[in-house]
Subunit: 318 residues, 2 copies
């Protein structure tokens, strides 16, 4: 490959990690919201940096490669790439608000490495790309987790069976409609992790793995009722939901409106609900809106579907 | 229905509970060994007992219905049956050794309620039968667990997603060959339960549910390698395996002989291994035999397959 100097356009989807009972292992990508990125690679002289980040949005995220999630992911990729005379230029237009709990950092990390791999002639596997992008998650939250990165790169519902060594399993799923509400409060991922207890009761763990097994079976059997019954978290949600205003009431009213189930997206504050039809998903959105409007809490909502493609290169070259 | 006075013949398969990573939730039935039972119902006078148990084997198990696992299961069934003027007579020929860890008590309980239901015109659902048979497990081990009962009644691989309320999910599986070794030592289920820690590390629980999700996905995708990689237990096996002589060495040599993986069957002392072919399953049996022969430890082995039928009524009437 030779530097092309030409820009490609990248679309990187938001993702919902944990999927209620699957803390740290399950996640899925959604069609809305998503980040837009542009990327190219050019020849580099010895004095130049190998990565240049340009922010096109208003979030003022750091542009030093080591402190930027896309930069950190690309640095990991370049470490395993045998040529050093190249420079990646990355323009990022974040449409997924940082800190919203729907994989904003994962979208930047995953988008960057999928874009870089495309420019280099797809020399790395998707598993490699997940590994590189996890370095971005480390910058964002201090932990190399893959439950947002994996669905962002593979699309659909993914299982991180093992993190070291990394193993991603894609899970087929029936058509599902997703409603997401992002209440405009801050929940830091590090805080959401620190309040978790390091030990859990074996009897609770058994309940949890019954639900995880049920959820995987429900997705693969396209059994909506089984999916709904399995969307129960007896370990993480009871602790974390106290950080999110109105969580219990919101969940109850969404289920009464017909949602199969749902819970905290990642470490929050966003909450997601899964529904069988677009109609129900919109009724669920109405419940979310009414509850947070009643609390005078500013919020965004999305009604979307599961994204089956993951990060996309939109046009060969712009 | 009227009493028939005629005997039916029942075949109740052995079962492997836990399936390594799925403690208390997963299990499967095997074609060998199995229990043989005969059953009939007759009119009962007020002075007569409603259940008569006759042992055809040498194990001298109690015949008082309340103390016998089949009896306790039948008592639970009769409690929900609206007529009281009937008597069940049950002959039991146990071919699954009690205490061997392959669901000997579950076979008696499940066989009895499936037989009774057949005689009564199949008025109860399989879920009901599991619920009744769990009363037999309570007699045997003090705990109403369903991870042997469910596969014994449904056949195949089963998931107990939830115990209260009871929900059984059947899981499709590819052809799998099963090798079982029963070293002639005693491990009491109650002891095997009492040595477990009541709390587990969250990070270990996360590893465990990654493996459970991987195992369910592997079974449903017929992905043998994924099944093999997921057959890992970081919570129960490290504690319980100390009760079984030579466990680590046996597991290692079986995997070297080509087994996908395996572990303790139920609470032990039997150990099971899954293989992709009959040839490998027999090579695994050889390893088991050599190891325990070398330790002068008497043992039985079985090479079998997953039983997809569960308890069978062998002939309408004998």
């Amino acid at each position: 490959m030779v530097p092309s100097n030409q820009w490609i356009k990248i679309k990187a989807p938001a993702t919902v990690a944990n999927m209620v009972c699957g803390f740290d292992i399950l996640g899925f990508a959604v069609n809305d919201p998503y980040d837009e990125m542009e990327m190219r690679w050019v020849a580099r002289t010895e004095q130049e940096p190998s990565i240049v980040i340009i922010n096109l949005d208003e979030y003022n995220l750091p542009t030093e490669p080591e402190k930027n999630v896309a930069g950190a992911a690309l640095l990991a990729l370049l470490e395993e790439y045998d040529k050093t005379n190249i420079k990646f230029e990355v323009k990022i237009n974040k449409r997924i608000k940082p800190g919203s709990g729907v994989g904003s950092s994962a979208a930047s990390s995953a988008g960057a490495v999928v874009g870089a791999n495309y420019l280099l002639g797809n020399i790395f596997s998707k598993d490699d790309l997940v590994r590189f992008a996890m370095n971005g998650e480390k910058v964002a939250s201090g932990v190399k987790h893959a439950d947002n990165i994996a669905p962002c790169i593979f699309g659909g519902v993914t299982l991180v069976r093992s993190i070291f060594p990394l193993e991603i399993v894609t899970l087929p799923s029936p058509e599902l409609f997703v409603t997401i509400v992002h209440p405009q409060i801050e929940v830091r991922t590090a805080d959401a992790r620190s309040i978790l207890r390091q030990k859990v009761l074996l009897k609770d763990a058994i309940k949890q793995w019954g639900n995880i097994a049920g959820l995987v079976a429900g997705l693969m059997k396209s059994d909506y009722d089984l999916i709904g019954r399995s969307l129960e978290d007896v370990i993480i949600e009871p602790v974390r939901s106290i950080l999110i205003p109105g969580f219990d009431a919101l969940k109850l009213s969404c289920k009464q409106a017909g949602a199969l189930g749902g819970g905290i997206s990642g470490s929050g504050p966003s909450i997601f609900m899964l529904s069988k039809t677009d109609e129900i998903a919109k009724a669920v959105e109405k419940e979310m809106h009414e509850l947070y409007a009643g609390m005078n809490l500013p919020h965004h909502t999305y009604v979307t579907t599961i994204n089956q493609k993951g990060v996309e290169i939109l046009a060969d070259f712009i």
